[in-house]
């Protein structure tokens, strides 16, 4: 019922055309060194946090007792959260700054929309490319975690698809927000929001450490669900709660994508 409703309302999406939009980004990636700098810098941020806080501060904290009674080293607790953050930031770099530039300044989407490619295909192509790019970060990050013995290889492989979902969810919402941006100054707001999520989403301390009101508030925000999902898998303790986290992220991805496509159509096909 829901699927027929969606199919009736959504324009047809062609895989080849979505692929062509992704292909443009691949071609531009090959074209210059400046892009690689952005690409590499996006990877190091979460890694530096892992080393400084997870390992550095972790040495002071020592071990952490979780609510379910398990005791683990602080670095093991923090690492999956940094993996989730890495999945978020890698994708956001592409769907915020780069997307905004292509939409507003370089007229890239205007050129594309004169072809059979439609707004939803542009949005989906950009998002998919962003997730591919972000997944390079997370794959390398997972490699580092395995090498540092912060996660077992099996559970690391289980966590990887979760990071892909995290990428789709945050990428889609970032893209939707980018279509609302008036200028570069609005990105400061986005950065502040992103940083607040980064600090409080159960990343560095279990959310139960906060007062109940704050805890509930955090549980409504997106990065919390990303951290819960990725950590649940990375620590090898998947519970039924992960289904809720997954549903939250899937809803985010769909809503963000459709909203972004709608906005692109309104802005560029007036």
């Amino acid at each position: 019922m829901l699927t027929t409703l969606l199919a009736a309302r959504l324009p047809a999406v062609s895989g080849a055309r979505v692929g062509a939009v992704m292909g443009r980004n691949v071609a531009s990636l090959r074209s210059g060194p400046s892009y690689w700098i952005v690409l590499v810098s996006g990877f190091f941020e979460p890694l530096l946090y892992l080393l400084s806080i997870g390992v550095g501060v972790g040495a002071l904290i020592g071990e952490l007792r979780l609510e379910d009674g398990r005791v683990l080293s602080y670095a093991v607790f923090v690492a999956p959260a940094m993996l989730a953050v890495s999945a978020m930031t890698g994708v956001l770099a592409e769907t915020t700054f780069n997307f905004f530039f292509k939409m507003k300044y370089s007229k890239t989407f205007e050129a594309i929309l004169a072809t059979p490619v439609g707004p939803l295909e542009v949005a989906l192509g950009e998002l998919s490319w962003a997730v591919v790019r972000g997944s390079f970060y997370t794959a390398v990050f997972i490699g580092v975690m395995v090498a540092m013995d912060l996660v077992s290889l099996g559970w690391a492989l289980a966590a990887f698809p979760a990071t892909v979902l995290v990428g789709f969810a945050f990428g889609a919402v970032g893209m939707a927000l980018s279509t609302l941006m008036r200028g570069w100054q609005d990105f400061d707001l986005l950065n502040t929001g992103q940083f607040a999520l980064f600090l409080f989403s159960g990343t560095f301390a279990p959310v139960q450490a906060y007062p109940l009101g704050v805890e509930i508030l955090i549980q409504l925000t997106p990065l919390y669900h990303a951290v819960e999902l990725v950590r649940g898998l990375a620590l090898g303790s998947p519970g039924p709660g992960l289904l809720l986290n997954t549903a939250y992220l899937v809803a985010m991805a769909l809503a963000g994508l459709l909203f972004a496509a709608r906005r692109v159509e309104r802005l560029l096909c007036a």
Partner: protein, 317 residues
């Protein structure tokens, strides 16, 4: 036995608009125009900035929906079949939107992929088109260092990459130097010879005269006149025009003194135009009245004169 023309599907107009309207809020950009473009034709929308040319082009290009009226492109409905129509269009927008992250060749190959062409076919067409627009030696260059004329030619090559049935050119030579314009006109003329249907907007009279079989003059969102360049000139102007300047004197004063010479006299801020069948005879008549213009120029009448006659304004301010 040859098929009668009327039965051939090719005789169907590629574009058919009836009472086409485009509004943006309270502003009416296109105010009920009727247009038909036949296959193989080079059709022009001529008019000043703000006449509604680009809004019309965007509706024909299926990136903007009509507010009211009927529009059929290649026999299809642009709202319902937008993607199918766009697959057969080549679009050269007013402002270059080439991909500055890509090389010249990649601009074409990447674009070809949006039309679902294979990599191999994309590459083949890109090389062929770069040859056609004389950019083969710049294939691996980035876009930025290219001159304005080269960028324009690349944009036109990009518009050809899907071998379109209909090519839309929105002010193809605006901002180019004369040499670049002539090269571009020559390429567009060759495109037309190959059988492409061209629809272009321009605010240059010489461009419309060079390229268009038929055109409409637009002003304030409406069509002021329609016809071939020649027939428009014949209908709305006289064969020749005398441009007379009278030093520092106010042209309007002299316009009165020239009344009765030729078919019509028009005063512009800096000169007086005398429309006449015989320009030299008109110059003689001016001197016969004892008037001594500082300069006189006899020229053939152009679309510029048509526009001036229709709207009372010059086209390019």
């Amino acid at each position: 036995m040859p098929t009668p023309l009327s039965a051939s599907p090719a005789a169907e107009p590629l574009i058919r608009a009836r009472g086409l309207v485009k509004r943006f809020g309270d502003f009416t950009a296109v105010d009920g125009i009727d247009v038909e473009v036949a296959p193989g034709e080079a059709f022009g929308f001529l008019g000043p900035n703000g006449a509604g040319k680009s809004s019309t082009m965007r509706m024909i290009g299926c990136v903007s929906s009509p507010t009211a009226g009927e529009l059929s492109i290649l026999g299809m409905d642009p709202v319902r079949d937008g993607a199918r129509i766009r697959a057969r269009l080549g679009v050269c927008p007013q402002q270059d939107n080439l991909d500055v992250d890509l090389t010249v060749r990649e601009n074409l190959t990447t674009y070809a992929r949006y039309f679902g062409l294979s990599r191999r076919e994309a590459r083949r067409r890109a090389d062929e088109l770069l040859e056609f627009v004389q950019l083969a030696d710049r294939a691996d260059s980035k876009v930025e260092p290219l001159s304005g004329g080269m960028k324009r030619r690349l944009t036109i090559a990009r518009a050809m990459v899907n071998e379109p049935d209909l090519v839309l050119l929105d002010e193809p030579t605006t901002g180019l130097d004369p040499q670049a314009r002539h090269l571009l006109w020559e390429r567009l003329f060759r495109l037309k010879q190959r059988g492409a249907t061209l629809v272009l907007t321009t605010h240059y009279m010489d461009e419309a005269e060079q390229l268009c079989d038929r055109l409409v003059v637009m002003d304030g969102g409406r069509i002021a006149a329609e016809g071939s360049p020649r027939s428009l000139i014949e209908t709305y102007s006289s064969p020749e025009v005398v441009e007379a300047r009278f030093g520092d004197a106010e042209p309007a004063e002299y316009a009165e003194k020239l009344a009765g010479i030729g078919d019509r006299v028009e005063a512009l801020p800096d000169r007086v135009l005398v429309y006449a069948a015989d320009g030299d005879a008109a110059v003689a008549a001016i001197h016969a009245r004892g008037l001594a213009p500082s300069t006189t120029l006899v020229r053939r009448s152009s679309l510029e004169d048509v526009f001036l006659h229709l709207t009372g304004r010059t086209l390019v301010d």
